[in-house]
Amino acid sequence: MIIAVAAGGAIGALARYGVSRMWPNGGDAYLVWRTGAAAFPWTTLLINAVGCFLMGVLTISLKKRFTGASPLLSPLLGTGVLGGFTTFSTYTDDARRLFENGQPGPAVAYLILTVGASMSGVLLGVACVAGMLQVRRGGSDTRQGREGS
């Protein structure tokens, strides 16, 4: 179990590092523009929102569809990969740096936007899978109905 979480965490952290290297801004980078304003940490925001969406997809899939899946899957993919991919500490630290750089507006906006995007992400993930399962079940019900009549 621990090894699965460790392997997942390593993959997730690496993926986050790759993304933040691709789009450096306020996130893991120390990019301060020539105007003295720090960049808005879009990358961390996006990483967290996508990670939350995938968490919603994963958890509901394992709970409702793949009930016979290996019990290692949730620690590996959920706790490990997605937990390692998303980050709460960079979120608060990005906000702190925006505050300290005299940008309280963007800092508060970032704090609120991340909450909104992450919660929308997880809700959307759950809703997508639930909707897909509904369509499948609905489809098979109609078929059965036709066969019956």
């Binding site: 968490m55 937990g83 998303t86 702190r96 809700l123």
Partner: protein
């Protein structure tokens, strides 16, 4: 290349530590409140504030940042589990607990980040 390996190593330690904190919290505290995620997140916020400020001060170099900040703190803290826990609390008609959990995490996380940075400035 080396920094990628350092991030990998930090992530391989941070995630299991969060998992162990979670299982310990579940075993010790009977109340089904997500204490594990909260402690892991707040601890990571404090440490990251410290490491980042140590980096700004020149005490911790880029390799140390990759290992400790991006790798360890990044994997120790999580948004994905946090958001799912919030959803579960809210869906279980515990909206006040969910709002409290969100508010406490964000406010204390930010405070921890400032505190960590303050400690680093005092030390170096």
């Amino acid at each position: 290349m080396v920094d990628w390996i350092l991030v990998l190593a930090g992530g391989a330690v941070g995630a299991p530590v969060r998992y162990l904190i979670g299982t310990a919290a579940k075993a010790r505290l009977r109340w089904t409140y997500p204490w594990g995620t909260l402690s892991a997140n707040l601890g990571a916020c404090l440490l990251l504030g410290l490491f980042v400020e140590a980096g700004t001060g020149g005490t911790l170099d880029a390799s140390g940042q990759a290992l400790l900040s991006t790798g360890f703190c990044g994997a120790l803290s999580t948004w994905s589990t946090f958001s799912y826990e919030l959803l579960t609390l809210a869906g279980g008609r515990k909206s006040i607990e969910a709002a409290g959990y969100l508010l406490v995490s964000v406010v204390l996380g930010l405070t921890a980040s400032f505190a960590g940075a303050g400690i680093a400035r005092a030390l170096w």
